[in-house]
């Protein structure tokens, strides 16, 4: 700590320096006195010989390193004072820098996490999934395969290194009298080796677990363990009653292992298939394979086609007439392509944003430097070395860069948090962790800070380049700046405005599309409805009467409980509806196939959803209880298949029912009513023909309940669960929630997310463009101060100077807006798929955006323009 002591001893050091010099003078004086001079003359001569005492002292001080620290501190104080004095400049520069750094970091982080590294799995870039496409409909037929098919795929060692499959199943975990429903996956041998992720606790499934005589075990997802089981490590090694089988929990998987997004994984042993609960007799497996390096996706697909041709003979019902196999990279399959495209677009735009932020800062610094050129020339003239001026500017730049970087890091951090919070479920892989990407942050910081230093030092370069006199005489006096610099600056403004127009336009289209979506008439009322799937234990609920023996008492109990208005059985969750089936109408011949969606429901279903009956009537309770073959149809079906004919009393056939495990031998139904159209394929798709029939006609198909309540549906959840367990304690609710919640999740969440991102983006863009226009206009006018002074001295009115500046700004704005419109139109095709109910060429939106930008741009020009008019002609011309 010697240096600290030295610092403290500064006073002592000063005293010693003083006495050393005094000693010298004293000696000299004595020498002169000895030579015979008078006392006064000797003192005078000694002082003259010595020269300036104070400069000598100062030079001695400079020899010490403490002096450098002092000077630096002084520079800091001076820079801080300067920045505080020019508060508008400082705030704007810091904001521009922070926005550029923050926004680009946040969005790049999300893109990087979601797109480039979404999975923590071994070699995840080589993972592929397999789909079967219907070539006639040009859409996916199925993405799941029979176990035979999977085994055959796995044998193609020339294509795949290995392959695994999973079968999703509801798992009822029975603890005492209550049951909890968990999502489970049966997995094939080698699954955990395939993904290569070490477990968090315990062990993963091992080869021995898949043997026929192995004791039943399972492993759990980290999130489930934390959220549903309180992260209790003592659960490891304990048996759980799952679907009636006692299984031992042997491991908790790593936090980022979420294969299939389920709660637990069980080995698929030879004995397992019997207890799997999926309702159809056949089991369909999801297949993931690791493709060999060098094998293309197309090659793999064409070889799988050969296998599929063979299987289509064995399982003709599982294949469409014309089909092809498709092999897709895993990452692509998990992330919707539209979302991926949107993210790519954003990452490109965000790079531009960073660029613009930096350009703005550069312009601001240049503008400031111009007005300060004289200050630096004066300093140099007074003896400041170039090093001193550079250091002064470095300190100033450092302060700006530091403040901007800190604020930028904060904005980036907050932005990542916000985006991660509003990303809707199922948009990105559940394995993805959205967090700040440090290398991206570093890049943005370096770019921003370099800009500040580079352009912050600009005045020093100028000072050293031209001679002092020239600088003093001529700074900022040219009629305009260097022409190349000016062209570049103007180009930046035009580009900024264009980008901003494009962003704002996209954002406005998203808003309009969202509003259009929210205004779609559903045809049914989703408020105050609690809904849940009820997976019934397959072995005890196989036939219609068995299913009825569960629902009839349950619905009666629910209806009589306080707070419940209606309760109904349903096979799907509105506004997505029904089981797809081929439809026949008696006495109608038609060349093409007719399809419809049918819903297995109880008598209160239509009433509960407030679907209007237009003709005929609904089912009666007796009809449902007796499993009568009666049907209610929607208007679309009536219009499309009956035409002008009165459908009441006509017969309709639902062929799909013949293929159910609990088949309906003669699936003809008599139409007893027609109801108003309600959305049945979500909000965006057109309504399909729909048929409602009593749920009691078959024991197959997934079932669920709808309960309309008087108060908040979620508050009724416990009561509903109690009634369910009172009827059968081995049944648990799957995904219980309000219908509004699902509507939000599946319909509005994704567009709202898009809205958020684009909205933030457009906001940041607008702010930056305002800063950009302001800074360039400020720079341009600062350079022309002298010219304006001259003009005004020659008699120009201040209003004409104002007009001149505004006209300049307007020209740039107009060019930018025009370019932006062209960009928007070019982009329209790409964003069409993201829009609903609004044209990407919407003239109203374009007009509004252009108007808004013009207004904001002019406002940004206004300040420098006003300043130009306030130029005092005398002050501007004084140094002529």
């Amino acid at each position: 700590m010697r240096w600290l002591r030295r610092f403290k001893e500064k006073a002592l050091w000063e005293k010693r320096l003083n006495s050393e010099l005094q000693f010298h003078l004293e000696q000299q004086r004595e020498a002169y006195v000895a030579a015979g001079l008078s006392e006064a003359e000797a003192r005078r001569r000694a002082a003259i010989d010595f020269g300036g005492l104070e400069p000598a002292k100062e030079e001695c001080r400079e020899a010490r390193w403490e002096y450098q620290v002092d000077v630096l501190a002084r520079d800091f104080r001076f820079a801080l004072r300067g920045l505080l004095k020019d508060r508008r400049f400082s705030c704007i520069a810091i904001l521009a820098l922070a926005l550029g750094i923050g926004a680009s970091t946040a969005i790049f982080s999300v893109v990087d996490n979601a797109l480039f590294e979404p999975f923590a799995y071994k070699d995840s870039h080589h993972l592929v999934t397999v789909h079967l496409r219907d070539q006639d409909q040009a859409e996916e037929w199925r993405g799941l395969f029979l176990y035979d098919e999977f085994q055959e795929f796995g044998k193609q060692k020339q294509l795949f290194e290995s392959a695994v499959a999973n079968l999703e199943d509801d798992v009822v975990y029975s603890a005492g009298q209550n049951s909890v429903l968990l999502a489970g996956n049966y997995v094939t041998p080698g699954t955990f080796e395939f993904y290569g992720v070490a477990p968090y606790l315990g062990r993963s499934l091992e080869p021995a677990d898949y043997q026929a005589d192995a004791p039943p075990v399972f492993v759990m997802r980290y999130r489930t363990w934390v959220q549903k089981f309180g992260a209790d490590p003592s659960l490891l090694g304990k048996p759980f009653n799952l679907n009636g089988v006692s299984r031992t929990l042997v491991g908790i998987e790593a936090p980022r292992f979420a294969w299939g997004g389920v709660d637990l994984w069980m080995p698929r042993g030879p004995a397992e298939p019997k207890i799997i609960r999926s309702f159809d007799g056949k089991q369909y497996w999801g297949v993931v394979a690791r493709i060999r390096p060098g094998v293309s996706l197309e090659q793999a697909a064409s070889q799988l086609n050969v296998i599929a041709q063979r299987f289509s003979k064995i399982y003709p019902k599982d294949y469409p007439t014309h089909f092809s196999m498709e092999v897709e990279s895993f990452e692509r399959a998990v992330l919707p392509p539209e979302f991926r495209r949107a993210l790519y677009m954003f990452s490109a735009a965000v790079g531009l944003l960073l660029l613009i932020g930096c350009a703005n800062v550069a312009n601001l610094l240049l503008a400031r430097a111009t007005t300060r050129e004289k200050e630096f020339a004066l300093r140099a003239a007074l003896g400041a070395t170039r090093f001193r001026i550079v250091r002064q500017l470095l300190v100033e730049s450092f302060l700006l860069a530091f403040a901007g970087a800190i604020l930028g890091i904060f904005l980036g951090w907050a932005g990542v948090g916000t985006i991660a919070a509003v990303i809707p479920e199922f948009t990105i892989a559940s394995e993805t962790v959205i967090q700040m990407n440090s290398s991206v942050l570093l890049f943005a910081l370096v770019a921003g800070v370099c800009t500040v230093f580079l352009f912050g030092l600009f005045p020093a370069l100028k000072v050293s380049r031209c001679s002092l006199e020239e600088s003093l005489r001529d700074t900022g006096k040219g009629l305009s700046g260097t022409s190349t610099g000016k062209g570049l600056r103007n180009a930046v403004v035009v580009a900024e405005v264009a980008l901003s127009v494009t962003l704002l336009f996209t954002a406005s289209l998203f808003v309009r599309s969202f509003i259009a979506l929210e205004r779609v008439p559903l045809g049914l009322q989703t408020d105050h409805i609690l809904t849940a799937r009820l997976p019934l234990p397959r072995e005890r609920y196989k036939t219609g009467p068995q299913v009825q023996s569960f629902f009839r008492p349950l619905l009666e109990r629910l209806k009589s409980s306080p707070g419940v208005v209606y309760a109904a059985e349903t096979s799907t969750r509105p506004p997505y509806g029904g089981i797809r089936s081929e439809v026949e109408v008696s006495g109608k011949a038609h060349p093409e196939k007719w399809f419809g969606l049918f819903q297995l429901c109880s008598e209160d279903y239509l009433r509960l959803l407030r679907i209007r009956v237009l003709e005929g009537r609904e089912f009666t309770e007796a009809e449902v209880n007796d499993a009568r073959h009666v049907a209610v149809i929607n208007q679309t079906l009536q219009r499309r298949y009956f035409g002008a004919q009165d459908p009441i009393g006509q017969k309709i056939r639902l062929d799909e029912l013949k293929d159910f495990p609990d088949a309906v031998g003669d699936p003809w139904f008599e139409v007893i009513g027609v109801v108003g159209d309600a959305r049945n394929r979500g909000l965006e798709e057109p309504i399909d023909p729909e048929i409602w029939i009593p749920y009691t006609v078959t024991g197959s198909a997934m079932r669920g309940i709808l309960v309309r309540t008087t108060n908040d549906p979620m508050s009724m959840m416990k009561n509903v669960a109690r009634e369910i367990w009172a009827v059968d304690h081995s049944v648990a609710m799957a995904e219980p929630n309000t219908l509004d919640y699902f509507l939000e999740l599946f319909t509005f969440a994704q567009p709202r997310f898009g809205l958020w991102i684009v909205g933030i983006f457009a906001g940041v863009g607008l702010l930056l463009v305002t800063i950009g226009v302001y800074s360039v206009m400020a720079y341009n006018t600062a350079r022309r101060t002298h010219e304006f002074g001259l003009r005004m001295a020659m008699g120009a009115a201040s209003s004409s100077v104002l007009k001149m500046v505004l006209r300049d700004g307007l020209r740039l704005l107009a060019m930018g807006i025009l370019a932006g419109m062209l960009c928007s139109l070019a982009l329209a095709r790409i964003i069409t798929s993201q829009l609903w109910g609004v044209s990407p060429y919407d003239p109203l939106t374009i007009g509004a955006v252009a108007g808004l930008l013009l207004l904001i741009g002019l406002a940004a020009c206004w300040m420098p323009a006003r300043r130009a008019t306030r130029v005092d002609p005398m002050a501007a011309l004084r140094y002529e």
């Binding site: 010693r16 320096l17 006495s19 050393e20 010099l21 000693f23 010298h24 004293e26 000696q27 000299q28 010989d49 010595f50 020269g51 300036g52 005492l53 400069p55 000598a56 030079e59 001695c60 400079e62 020899a63 010490r64 390193w65």
Partner: protein
């Protein structure tokens, strides 16, 4: 141009000071007298610029100082050469000799 001259003098002054200090503990005034004496008034060393030079040398660790009593009983700061200072002096002298030899050679051959 004025600055370059100052640079040149500063380097030369440093060497001269080191040379003088090498003779043993000596205070600032005596150094200035000695330099004037050796250089036979050829160098008009402003006495004021001697001290910054001394402080610079001290900061670099080539000389060190002690406060001692002079023969007349006054407190004065006495400088002496450190080991590093001696090395520095040797290298500077060598450098200087080479330089002056070179200059002399050039002047001779240019004739």
């Amino acid at each position: 141009m004025a600055q370059e001259k100052a640079e040149f003098l500063k380097g030369t002054l440093d060497m001269l000071i080191l040379k003088v200090v090498a003779a043993g503990p000596i205070h600032g005034y005596a150094i200035s007298q000695r330099i004037q004496q050796i250089s036979k008034d050829f160098f008009q060393v402003p006495q004021g610029s001697l001290y910054p030079a001394l402080h610079r040398l001290e900061e670099r660790g080539w000389v060190e100082a002690d406060w001692k009593e002079t023969a007349t009983g006054r407190e004065a700061k006495f400088y002496k050469l450190t080991r590093n200072g001696r090395k520095q002096l040797e290298s500077e002298m060598e450098h200087w000799e080479r330089l002056s030899d070179a200059v002399a050679l050039i002047l001779r051959t240019a004739e």
